[in-house]
């Protein structure tokens, strides 16, 4: 209980700090006035522009935390992560197509839809490759993921070069791909994703006992893995469609959450969501305020912080 209250308090604090942060810093008193309905331009800007972005950052972080936890649970591998396994890259490719290729559907539909198709397809491809290669261990899966992610990244760059002209701004896509929080209208999506992942919790625990034991405990392993990968892809696609490519949060959040609440998935999933939200809210605050008046891409901030984290985890795993 103390852990949950602590996490909620830290998230609240992070939200306040992030709402104050920007190239023009606001004080908590400014924030309070703005929330109380002050009509001054400065207050209106805070409420109408900065706050939605801060809340969106929290949702994107929560989704990345959930997605990372599901991927680690399904692959039974603490190094699995949507970004490293190519799933986020697939979502980004799909989203780039949606942004650049004129298609019959409205973009607000296409973006999440193609992002999902990309995330799902990339993950299935990685699973397929590592199965065909006979490597289902951590290293094989990661290598397949890295290769697929590289190919997808190259495809995305090519699309951006080949398709962008004056009518579509390359700048928009570029800043989106590097991770930039879009204004949200989708608290419902986040809620749905939490519900979806909690529905997988017990079966993720059983799968974590190992395949033989999971089968003996009545889990239909193949079917469940496919279902969980599908759910994970939906969540990753939502995160990428609204937040761009944000590296390593999906890796780090479940680890931190596991230290706090242990490895059972029912507490782990919401805890990862909270940790992911805290991390992305703070990273987004840094992205907006570190180099005024420019804005650093969010994905760069999380990569600088998360890369070393991954290296430490990898080193510890290789040593053991």
């Amino acid at each position: 209980m103390r852990v949950w209250l602590g996490l909620a308090a830290i998230l609240l604090l992070a939200l306040v700090v992030a709402a104050c942060a920007g190239h023009a810093w606001a004080s908590p008193a400014d924030l309070w006035r703005a929330l109380a309905g002050d009509a001054a331009l400065r207050s209106r800007l805070l409420v109408e522009w900065r706050l939605p972005r801060v809340v969106a950052a929290a949702f994107v972080g929560a989704l990345l935390g959930l997605g990372g936890t599901i991927y680690q649970g399904v692959f039974r591998n603490p190094l699995a992560e949507p970004y490293l396994l190519g799933s986020a890259g697939g979502a980004a490719l799909g989203a780039t197509v949606a942004l650049l290729v004129p298609l019959a559907l409205p973009q607000s539909w296409l973006l999440p839809l193609l992002a999902f198709a990309g995330a799902w397809g990339a993950t299935l491809l990685v699973i397929g490759i590592s199965r065909v290669a006979g490597a289902v261990d951590a290293a094989g899966l990661l290598l397949a993921g890295v290769a697929v992610a590289a190919i997808l990244g190259a495809l995305r760059s090519f699309l951006m070069l080949a398709l962008s002209d004056e009518t579509v701004s390359l700048q928009v896509v570029l800043s989106w791909v590097l991770g930039g929080i879009q204004t949200p209208t989708w608290a419902l999506i986040a809620g749905g994703c939490v519900g979806l992942s909690l529905g997988l919790a017990r079966r993720l625990d059983v799968l974590g006992l190992g395949e033989a034991m999971a089968i003996a405990f009545g889990l239909e392993v193949r079917r469940f893995v496919m279902l969980a990968v599908l759910a994970g892809s939906v969540i990753v696609a939502a995160a990428v469609a609204y937040g761009g490519l944000v590296a390593f949060v999906g890796l780090a959040a479940p680890h931190v959450a596991r230290w706090l609440v242990g490895p059972l998935h029912r507490p782990l999933l919401p805890a990862s969501a909270l940790v992911g939200a805290i991390v992305v809210v703070l990273a987004d605050a840094i992205a907006r305020s570190a180099l005024p008046p420019a804005e650093i891409p969010l994905g760069l901030v999380t990569a600088v912080a998360g890369g070393p984290f991954f290296i430490v985890l990898l080193a510890r795993r290789l040593r053991s």
């Binding site: 059983v206 034991m213 405990f217 490895p263």
Partner: protein, 247 residues
Amino acid sequence: MSALVAENLRVARGKSTLLRDFSLVFDATESVAIIGPNGAGKSTLLKALAGTEALTGGRVRLGRRNLADLPAAERAQAIGYLPQHFGPHWDLSVAELLEVGAGRARSLPADALEKATAAFELGGLERRRWSTLSGGERARVLLAMVLVVDPPVLLADEPAASLDIRHRLDLVRTLAERGGDRLSVVVVHDLDLAFSFFKRVVLLADGELIADEAAARLIADPRLDEVFGVRFERLRAGEGWHLRACR
């Protein structure tokens, strides 16, 4: 009444036949040891009985029902299966492992977890993580996880092979004694333990059923020597047996 019946079991993978068409009938209350040399098909037989190995021919019945038609969740509650190797991917605590084990039952008596903790002497270990447990403790935790839902059938696959002699003895005795009021079928590597603790012994070789008899009768059977490719000296040792192999 027979609890578990295997009829004309056949399992083939590619060109190799793992089980060659035999039948076995198990009562609702008995303890049975399955023995045989390496590659005899012991583990395959156990998985087939547990309903987790696809059959090439024949069928397994649990009570009156065909095991293959049973929903996986129902099968998991009725049949406890102890694998040869177990290592969870996450470093769960003992209490968490028991919780996951209990989760497969649709409903459990409120004191089921407490009972399992007491029955397998896990009091005081609840908060310890798997990685910090000794081999003997791990064996007890695994057994508690599988038996916390009190399944009428227990199938155990050489779970004692990696334990030291005292813990192996404890574990095999626990498994055999469960045959007093439940069905307990155990693949046993150590022939002394098989013949000392189990009333009935099933001997397999090359996927074939060689013998299925009372332990007291099979111990004298020359087929035992033939199958294992050695000559056994059969020594009476207290209540049990000691088999000394010579070439």
